[in-house]
């Protein structure tokens, strides 16, 4: 049964991708995508409902599989080299060559040895959480992409549709992610890690504009740094240990004498690069040129989470080390720094990108703290951030196609134009910052667990305040213009509507169900052994020694409060409408006052972006330098 599901979940996306490439007919292709999505979601849900299990090497044909993976690895690197030559990127050429040499070296010196009884693919607690994210959020984003890409190509006036290629890569990516989280052998994981890099590169450059290509190449070489670090780590582990098996490494633990700790530091570096932490954030910012579903899938919900996933895997091994402690401070710093930069942005997608980096930083901080409560916080943040951020990205994508701008200022009063999307955007924003929603639950857990670590908590509280600032002003101005029109959903394609509303409802529903998720999923990630659970759950109230969060009661109250507020909104619309205060010089036109020489003047306040304090040009250099110092500390500390 398990073997079947794992094989299914790995091979179906690839098969469907091939199908997309072959079919080349819109309706049929869309059908393939939708059915694949449904099947993947069902498979992931089934996986959650059965006991942890896996596939052993014997079941996969032993050495043959190793050979396939090695060949694929080399194939990937050759593709990298090809793109490096084509786009004249020395960095890519150099880093890919280095990886080839490292891999070849390890193969030649001490080939990875996978005993027949070793697990190759394993679905344990953490993998199941990741599978849920990938296979529930991923297909929804693909569903949204159907209409999005149609509009996108209409807008670009393409003669020959590039959609088959687009969906091919998207689906391959889903398969790669599934493989990545299921892999139990580090060198297999490396292959999938590189495969996601390739998918990301192809999707960022999808539009083939000079900017897109430029940013894609940047993403490729920056991520190659991570790949190289990963390959180097493989060599080091291989030299010091006789296995690349994650489970065995975990049970063996580490001894300071061997090279495991530097190897772990290198893996940590690979994770940071993949998650676009400072000072590697530029590739993610550049990646925003990609069509928005790509940003949602790769650069918010799933691919950037690979770093977190890797760290969560390694967390038990680095427990109590300087590396772990350093990661906590580093993560806290990135949380603050990226939030500060987000305040200075008016480009919606950039705000989302910085917010993603910032939240990933917070998760890194939690992983670095490496206590059971902190790891619980990390898993909750991982889960809810993926859902909420996917929703927000898709909303911005939908808005952008409608108003042809992604600038926050242009979204003023969006409610009058796109009521449904505006409401869902506001809901998404509120889910990011407000109790009782999941992201805040995670943040609450993070704060409670970070409270004993004074440097980290200082960074986290400051970053948290900045986060509120940039989200709240965005949500506020969506409702800004006087609302006179009755509620009337704008016309949007069924697939868009379905994706947005399922994500929105799912985010809210999952938030309310967070206490049950704890027993179902999360506790298995944190305490696979016989440790006592961190939180006790009863009546939907999560309680630990340090604190208590009444998730379910608060959710009920929030729902009732929201209903009352909606009634108030409807009631208020029946009140007498007056123009806003304009010092007595308002005119019949909204927001226009009689100015000097009796001329009408458009009044209006724009948001504060505080560029003199939080400007990108101003801060980035300093923040990057600080992050680099922390990073050197993090890597150097292990030697």
């Amino acid at each position: 049964m398990v073997a079947l599901i794992i094989t299914f979940i790995l091979l179906l996306p690839v098969a469907a991708a091939a199908g997309c490439l072959i079919v080349r007919r819109d309706n049929l292709g869309n059908g393939v995508i939708l059915i694949t999505g449904l099947a993947l979601a069902a498979a992931a849900l089934m996986m959650v409902s059965i006991a942890p299990a896996g596939l052993t090497a014997a079941e996969l044909g032993g050495r043959t599989f190793e050979g396939v993976i090695l060949a694929a690895d080399m194939g990937l690197l050759i593709i990298f080299l090809y793109y490096g030559r084509r786009y004249k990127s020395r960095a890519v050429l150099f880093l890919s060559t280095a990886q080839m040499l490292l891999l070849g070296g390890v193969e030649w010196l001490r080939p990875p040895w996978v005993p027949f009884d070793a697990m190759v693919f394993q679905a344990d607690g953490l993998a199941r959480v990741m599978l849920l994210i990938i296979n529930l959020v991923g297909p929804l984003i693909c569903c949204h992409a159907i209409a999005y890409m149609r509009n996108h190509e209409r807008h670009l006036k393409l003669e020959k549709s590039a959609q088959p290629r687009f969906f091919f890569v998207m689906l391959v990516f889903l398969g790669a992610m599934n493989g990545l989280v299921l892999s139990n052998q580090l060198h297999h994981l490396y292959f999938f890690f590189e495969l996601t890099t390739l998918c990301s590169f192809l999707l960022i450059g999808h539009d083939k504009t000079p900017t897109a290509v430029d940013h894609a190449v940047r993403a490729l070489w920056v991520n190659s740094i991570g790949g190289t670090a990963f390959a180097l780590a493989l060599v080091l582990i291989r030299v010091s240990k006789d296995t690349l098996d994650l489970q065995r490494l975990l049970t063996q633990g580490h001894s300071p004498a061997d090279l495991l700790l530097p190897a772990l530091a290198l893996l940590c570096l690979a994770a940071l690069v993949k998650s676009a932490q400072f000072p590697f954030q530029r590739w993610l910012l550049g990646a925003m040129v990609a069509p928005t579903p790509v940003s949602a899938l790769l650069h918010a919900s799933t691919m950037v989470k690979v770093g977190i996933y890797l760290m969560l895997r390694l967390a038990p091994m680095i427990q109590g080390t300087f590396l772990s402690r350093c990661t906590a401070v580093y993560g806290g710093f990135v949380f603050l720094a990226a939030a500060a930069l987000a305040v200075g942005q008016s480009n919606g997608k950039k705000v989302l990108a910085y917010s993603t980096i910032s939240n990933l930083g917070l998760i890194f901080a939690c992983v670095g703290l490496n206590t059971p409560p902190a790891l619980t916080a990390a898993v909750y943040l991982l889960l809810f951030h993926a859902v909420t951020k996917a929703l927000l990205f898709l909303c911005v994508g939908t808005i952008e196609q409608h108003i042809h701008s992604r600038d926050i200022e242009d979204m003023r009063g969006l409610y009058a134009v796109m009521p449904a999307t505006a409401l869902m955007t506001v809901a998404g924003v509120l889910m990011m910052i407000m109790p009782p929603f999941g992201v805040l639950l995670g943040k609450w857990m993070a704060m409670e667990s970070a409270a004993t670590d004074i440097p980290v908590i200082m960074l986290v509280v400051a970053g948290s305040a900045l986060t509120v600032m940039y989200w709240a002003r965005w949500a506020g101005l969506l409702m800004s213009e006087p609302v006179v029109v009755p509620f009337r959903p704008e016309r949007m394609p069924m697939s868009t509507w379905a994706a947005l509303s399922v994500l929105c409802a799912g985010g809210a529903g999952l938030s309310a169900a967070a206490p049950w998720l704890y027993d179902l999923l999360v506790s298995a990630v944190i305490a696979p052994g016989s440790l006592l659970p961190v939180y006790t759950v009863h009546w939907g109230i999560m309680e630990s020694a340090a604190g208590r969060f009444a998730v379910f009661p608060l959710s009920l109250l929030a729902v009732s409060g929201c209903l009352v507020s909606v009634l108030a909104f409807r009631h208020a619309n029946r009140g007498r409408a007056v123009s806003p205060y304009l010092c007595g010089e308002q005119t019949a036109e909204p927001c226009v006052f009689n100015g000097p020489m009796d001329q009408p003047v458009k009044a209006g306040a724009k948001n504060y972006y505080l560029t003199s304090i939080f400007g990108e040009e101003r801060l980035t250099v300093w923040l990057n330098s600080a992050a680099a110092v922390l990073l050197i500390l993090l890597l150097g500390g292990t030697l």
Partner: protein, 164 residues
């Protein structure tokens, strides 16, 4: 019975908490500084719960000083329309009543009642703070009565009210 009691409470609260908006139409400042003086320690109208809120959306009481011309008349009407009912208007000073000494000047339309309905007229050039407070209390008397829509004649169309 509870309704009556509530009604009484509300009317009492209205009398006890008049928030005023002061607008200087075209005054010489004489009346304005006397209005301001009402707020200060010697007269201290906050004793009666009167607060100068400076915002039509919050105010119950519109104190207008000075003569009306086309330009400030437009502002005056705008402010009056932004106020939430129940509201009362007190015209202060000879100019606010009729145009006063400037009545014959070329840019003067006349008193405040040329633009908006006035409830209480406080004469004087300028009226003393005591007189202004007295006028406010006369206006409060009106606030404490149940408001009828017939109390408010519709605004007269006056040239210059809407922007050109």
């Amino acid at each position: 019975m509870p309704i009556q009691w509530l009604d009484k409470l509300i009317r009492r609260a209205r009398v006890k908490s008049p928030w005023l908006l002061h607008f200087d139409c075209g005054s010489c400042n004489g009346c304005d500084i006397e209005v301001l003086a009402c707020l200060t320690p010697v007269y201290d109208v906050e004793r009666f719960g009167i607060v100068n809120v400076g915002n039509p959306l919050h105010a119950d009481l519109l104190l207008v000083t000075g003569t009306v011309n086309r330009r400030n008349g437009r502002v005056l009407t705008n402010l009056y329309e932004q106020m939430a009912a129940p509201k009362v208007v007190v015209a202060i000073g000879s100019c606010g009543l009729s145009g006063g000494i400037f009545r014959t000047a070329y840019n003067v339309i006349g008193g405040v009642d040329q633009m908006i309905p006035v409830d209480v007229y406080v004469p004087g050039c300028p009226p003393r703070p005591e007189a202004i407070i007295d006028g406010v209390f006369l206006a409060l008397d009106r606030l404490s009565r149940p408001a009828k829509s017939s109390d408010r004649p519709p605004l007269k169309p006056v040239a210059g009210r809407s922007s050109p």
